[in-house]
Amino acid sequence: MGAIRFCLCTVMAVCALAIAPLARAEPSPMRIVSLSGSLTEIVAELGFADRLVGVDRSSLRPPELVRRLPKVGSPRSVSIESVLAVSPTMVIAYDDMQPTETLAKLGDLGVVVILVMRRSSVESAREKVLRVAEGLGVPEKGQALVAAIDRDLAWPSGKPKPDRRLRALFIQTMGNGPLMVAGGNTAAEALMAVAEVDNAVHGFEAYRPLNPEAAAAANPDVIIILRRALERVGGEEGLAAMPGLGEPPAICEHRIVIADDSAFIGLGPTTGASVRHLREAVYGR
């Protein structure tokens, strides 16, 4: 009998210990888990870097911060136990996160879940910042950050727009397969449009492998490439040696823009600066 009572007591004590972090959640300071790279950047940019207690593997920036934070899963598979292990009070995630039940379960357990829509338009960079700022209770900081992004996005006043819009090929990945490039309805194409640059390839949506002959036919004026992709192929020389990229104007005239992953694919707080960088690299203004 005594043994049974002991067991029951132990079980209850363990349960109490397990629930304790959740019960303590209200008064203690905010503990945030961010489940996407660009969302982590937004949280950090809004001044909540020291409140982050966990991030997913797509969170690469700010590097000194994410290096020491526990990783709670990959973008497409978040482990609910890893999330709970860091006892968050708030989880920030995209609405298409997998597995979908995870967020509902977190909500049931009393964690505040902030959902952000995933869309590939420049507008969504602003929306994301505002949504996260609102969730964190600092809408005015969100407005200020959006204003900063907008300043970079806008064509500088007093400078004429280009006579001829240049055509750019956005390369996401390359290596042993075909070039993976941005087609229609992508964040990359949306950012190009803001910088007054046209997409050099047409006729397909999303990121698709491009036939090397089609790359030669596209004859781009500019190549925009993710840093990691350029490194993998062996730098600018390696890029020129890729089939189909022999001698378009982009290669001959060295108009190669190194893009930032989170700005061009994730659409985050650095999107404005990346567009300004692209505009300056292509048109010099």
Binding site: R57, S58, L60, S74, P75, S77, Q172, T173, M174, G175, N176, G177, P178, L179, M180, G183, V201, H202, G203, F204, Y207, R208, P209, L210, N211, P212, E213, A214, A216, A217, A218, N219, L226, R228, A229, E231, R232, V233, G234, G235, G238, A241, M242, P243, G244, G246, E247, D261, I265
Partner: protein
């Protein structure tokens, strides 16, 4: 004898047809006269014209190396499958089953996911993945052969064990990969000839030719009949040599184009069904048919969805599967290669 010759002429004609069809199709349209001028200039018959520069670039640096690599990889996979089926006396043997392909995949995936650790210097970056794939193919086959060489029954079982192990290790690495690495390794896993260039062709053709000659010589002594059976230890050594050669050849091919499934399995069976199971025919026949399969699959990969590409490894299965079924229904099984 006459029917054998006829069958070979037919196969060679089909290869030529597939080559010509490939040569004239592509996302970049090249007029016939420009193509003749460019090819003439490349062969030194006439002077290169300045206005043909872009045609020459596409034809000589993109389309032709891709055709050659398709032929070389297809032929390598075809005769490797035939050699393995013959040596192991098992109609299901193919490079995939013995762990060669999955070892290559593991090598490549590991190189992509662990690249930050492996490559401090970016000059090496383009070579790391092919070299890792090649080493993976050779190592995994070496393990299988070393564990199970004495009996071909355990050989297949060992291959299955290695496949399972490599598959799980790949799964583990994939779960550690970030988005950018996932995109790279997906392409590797489904195969593509899009990055073909002349040096890759040269390497695959050179290794393939050496191995092919080696395998042909073996064909006379061991594949022909069961004489090798009472040669005892020697037969084991022969088996090991052929498997090593096949691992080298397949490793070289797979290192550059990724996983191209089904060709090694299906080409020898198609040749047997069409020509009968005569070993002298099966090796070269499988090489030719493997080349045709990969050429046609790549033609589909690069033209159907232009300007985008379809995955090669899936198209070889889509093309070879129905053909094998059709032959099985109409010709019937006349026995495997063994």
């Amino acid at each position: 004898m006459a029917s054998e010759a006829r069958a070979f002429v037919l196969l060679a004609a089909v290869v030529m047809g597939a080559l010509v069809w490939n040569l004239f199709s592509g996302a970049f349209s090249i007029p016939l006269d420009a193509m003749v001028r460019v090819l003439g200039a490349a062969l030194g018959v006439c002077d290169p014209a300045q206005e043909d520069r872009r045609f020459a670039l596409v034809l000589l640096d993109v389309r032709l190396p891709r055709l050659c690599l398709a032929c070389a990889v297809g032929a390598t996979l075809g005769f490797s499958g035939a050699a393995m089926q013959g040596v192991l006396r098992n109609p299901l043997a193919e490079p995939g089953l013995l762990g060669t392909a999955s070892g290559a995949a593991l090598g490549a995936v590991a190189a992509i996911v662990l690249e930050g650790v492996l490559t401090r210097r970016h000059d090496f970056a383009p070579f790391v993945v092919p070299v890792a794939a090649f080493l993976g193919a050779v190592l995994s086959t070496a393990v299988v052969v070393a564990v199970a060489l004495p009996s071909s029954a355990t050989l297949l079982l060992t291959g299955i064990a290695i496949n399972a192990l490599a598959g799980s290790a790949i799964g583990l690495l994939i779960s550690l990969a970030n988005d950018e690495q996932l995109r790279s390794l997906t392409f590797w896993m489904i195969g593509s000839l899009a990055a073909a260039n002349w040096s890759q062709c040269g390497i695959v053709v050179a290794i393939g030719a050496v191995v092919f000659r080696h395998a042909l010589a073996l064909d006379a002594t061991t594949l022909g009949d069961d004489v090798a059976g009472h040669l005892g230890l020697d037969a084991v050594a022969v088996r090991g040599r052929v498997l090593a050669a096949v691992a080298l050849a397949v490793g070289a091919g797979v290192a550059f184009v990724g996983m191209v499934g089904f060709v090694g399995l299906v080409a020898p069976h198609l040749v047997c069904l069409m020509m009968g199971a005569r070993h002298r025919l099966v090796l070269p026949g499988s090489a030719l048919l493997g080349a045709v399969l990969v050429l046609l699959a790549d033609l589909a990969a690069r033209t159907i969805a232009a300007p985008t590409e379809l995955p090669l490894g899936i198209l070889t299965g889509l093309l070879g599967g129905p053909f094998l079924l059709w032959l099985l229904i109409h010709v019937g099984v006349r026995g495997g290669v063994s």
